[in-house]
């Protein structure tokens, strides 16, 4: 009996793959359910339940399904299951906090079965990233999932019947989720007879559980312990830069509540609208120090918005050097030689060491004369304030609250189109443009390229548009990138883990080596 026990930071809440988009849920579900398109460890699309796909015209994509795949209960997998899954999502899942339906909505997708092993997806215009989108949509079995109660019947195991490498075994809320080997998986031999996920929320406890052998492997080992873990012969650490960009987002309204002059009065105009000020703030950040002193050496300082290997990455953009003198000079040039005050907001339980980074940045900015106060909070409070915490908000009209905040953006699909659109494009509630742009940055030159890129199927052309948009944004310091998180896993000696960019912990990527 080969059992792999994994201590995870967050507990999966549901085994219904259409229930949420939380990583914690998805990584467990992925053991049981599969998608038409898989992502490789660098988040690039590869065949999954679909063996191939192509655009047969500007608005139609055809997916060829894999033959001979069976559900865990032995029923064959067909196009009907795919259509059912899409329909299930489109129909809305009662009570689901955040089903991935929106990926189907993007581009106005419609679908049809051509034959048992062929499915066509149509869009309302040229739309290049259908495959990437479908990599977000798990397929459930029509014959079991029809008419079941969302989430409830999946958690009990009744409907948790997929095509994936593992079978549902046990779901004990708060304690463990266990899956066992699917001997008939199309993807080949599965090494583990059983995989157990145990939620251990406290970092210190999770590490302790690894150290004393309660679990074989943990995600998110505390960064402070990384050096000693690496030195310890009994343990191995795997790591990979993630797709999550950590950046500081300035706000661009004319008057910002948290940007004050040295006497404590709200400043007008808002100095953050001056790109020299933004550049100065970027130059004042010592990204290497953050990497070495806070992140345990594990972060990738950057000036890009997607990590290396992702579609849209631009090698020519290098992280800003640490240059406080230049920063001060720039501030003086912009007319703020005496500095000013601002508050940097951030979450304290969302990203790796988020509160610590906020504090460190505050230190660095204060040193060049921008007196920075710090306010960190649990993510639930942070994000709802970030998005619409301002008193001018009303239902249907979101006004962000913070003037400067630390947040992150994960490029889930392995390609930059929706990253550029999300954080650099002008905010537009109707089109979904700039839905992560809570600084309300707006630059027509970026908008033009971003909107065009979303409709460009030609990869080279799209790459050019995206890189141009990114370069414009970075030149203008639309936001101040810090680094890509580097994700770590720690495991006992004798295990090897091919870490993946999208932060998920998959048992099939762990193998015994002794």
């Amino acid at each position: 009996q080969e059992v792999l026990t994994i201590g995870v930071r967050s507990e999966a809440s549901s085994l219904d793959p259409h229930w949420t988009q939380l990583s914690a849920d998805l990584q467990v579900q992925e053991h049981i359910f599969e998608k038409l398109v898989n992502l490789d460890s660098a988040s690039q699309p590869i065949p999954g339940l679909a063996v191939s796909w192509e655009a047969i015209d500007d608005t139609t994509w055809e997916f060829k399904l894999r033959e001979g795949v069976t559900w865990h209960d032995g029923e064959p997998f067909t196009a009907d299951d795919v259509i059912f899954s899409f329909d299930r999502l489109r129909g809305g899942i009662e009570g689901a906090p955040a089903s991935p339906a929106f990926t189907l909505d993007k581009g106005g997708k419609t679908w049809e079965k051509v034959d048992d092993l062929t499915v066509r997806v149509r869009t309302d215009g040229p739309y290049p990233t259908v495959a990437e989108d479908l990599a977000m949509v798990p397929i459930v079995a029509e014959h079991v999932a029809r008419g079941v109660t969302a989430s409830v019947d999946f958690n009990s195991g009744d409907a948790a019947i997929g095509t994936g490498p593992f079978l549902y075994n046990e779901f004990r809320s708060g304690d463990r989720i266990s899956v066992v080997k699917n001997p008939g998986w199309w993807g080949g031999e599965v090494q583990w007879d059983e995989v157990v996920f145990r939620p251990v929320t406290q970092d210190a406890s999770r590490l302790a559980a690894l150290l004393n052998g309660d679990v074989d492997m943990i995600d998110y080992p505390p960064t402070a312990d990384l050096p000693s873990l690496r030195d310890n012969p009994d343990f191995t650490v795997s790591s990979i830069p993630s797709d999550r960009l950590i950046y500081v987002m300035p706000a661009y309204r004319d008057v910002e509540d948290y940007v004050l002059d040295n006497d404590g009065n709200v400043m007008q105009p808002n100095p953050l609208r001056d790109w020299r000020v933004r550049k100065a703030l970027s130059l004042a950040i010592n990204r290497e120090a953050i990497r070495d002193r806070i992140m345990g050496g594990a972060s990738l300082p950057t000036r890009n918005v997607v990590p290396p290997g992702f579609f849209g990455y631009d090698e020519s953009l290098e992280a800003d050097p640490y240059d406080p003198e230049a920063a001060q000079a720039l501030l003086a040039e912009a007319g703020y030689g005496d500095g000013f005050q601002l508050t940097l907001h951030g979450p304290n339980d969302r990203y790796i060491n988020d509160a610590r980074i906020v504090e460190a940045i505050a230190q660095m900015w204060t040193r060049i004369g921008v007196k920075t106060a710090v306010d960190t909070m649990p993510r639930n409070i942070f994000f709802s304030d970030l998005i619409r915490g301002h008193e001018d908000s009303f239902p249907g009209h979101d006004v962000p609250k913070f003037s400067m905040s630390l947040t992150g953006w994960g490029t889930v699909a392995g390609e930059a189109t929706y990253t550029v659109s999300g954080i650099l494009e002008t905010y537009n509630a109707a089109t979904g443009g700039g839905n992560g742009n809570f600084g309300r940055y707006s630059n027509p030159r970026i908008d033009a390229r971003s909107i065009l890129a979303k409709r460009t199927i030609d990869r080279d052309e799209r790459l050019r548009l995206l890189q141009e948009a990114i370069n414009i944004g970075m030149e203008d310091y639309a936001l101040i990138p810090l680094h890509f998180q580097v994700n770590h896993w720690a495991m006992r000696r004798g295990l090897e883990h091919a870490a993946r960019t999208n932060e998920r912990t998959l048992a099939i990527e762990v193998r015994r080596v002794d």
Binding site: P222, A224, I290, R293, A360, I381
Partner: protein, 314 residues
Amino acid sequence: MSAGAVTRPEQAGPVDPAGAPRPAEASAFAAVARAYARSLIAMTALVVFAIIAVAALLAPWIAPQNPYDLTQVDLLDNLLPPGSESFSGQIYWLGTDGQGRDILSAILYGLRISLLVGLASGVIALLIGAAVGLVSAYRGSWLDATIMRIVDLQLSFPTILVALILLVILGRGVDKIVFALVVVQWAYFARTVRGVALVENSREYIEAARGLKLGHLRILFGHLLPNCMPTLLVVATVQVASAISLEATLSFLGLGLPPTQPSLGLLIANGFDYMQSGRYWISLLPGVVLLVTIVSINVVGDRLRDVLNPRLAR
């Protein structure tokens, strides 16, 4: 229980064996102080607490660094073990934390916040609780019943939950914590004071005061309150200690204070991530100080309970 009602009071206590007047004009305070000083442990605790309190009070003047001033904290000095020297030649006697903050200074300032939180919430809760409890005991009847129902409700709800919910709702900050702690604690005071006040209220000196037509306010605050004071004081010390401890727990749960102005609890919580990598000082040292502080307050409270025990004092 009225069992003791018929004992002859002469037998009440050994302090004044045959009821003879004492030779010295001993003030009550001096007597208590003398009785207190008889316990070496309690004296030590008092001295320790005094040192801690003074250190906390003088933190801005004696701390080598202002840990809240970000220009004085350097990330490049972080995680230094005790006794290390900084870039600028300053010595960090107790090491530095993850942000490069001098632990010694952070402890001193953290003490200030912890004590402030404990004392402020203790005092405010005491004032509210004492007033409510006194009036409740004195007025009696439906007012008493109503107030005590409310107190019961409040008490039947676990402190940590109330504080948690309040902080989730109110947000973070010293004032919010103090508010949450007051909400949690006032009922303890109210109930204790009411209990004592009921006993005192049934004593004949209160009846005498009524017979003398002294006025309700005067009776309440001039006669009843001073006699409830000893018990109040004892409850207060315990509550202050538990407030400090509760604040630490809330900080640990991420609902405490802003990270740039850490209390002792927050220092401990933050430092714990470094514990397993051998950087014990970040969490352990503030922990020890917190421990010593709370223990010393508790010991002082215990001793006060003993020496202020009415059975011994009268």
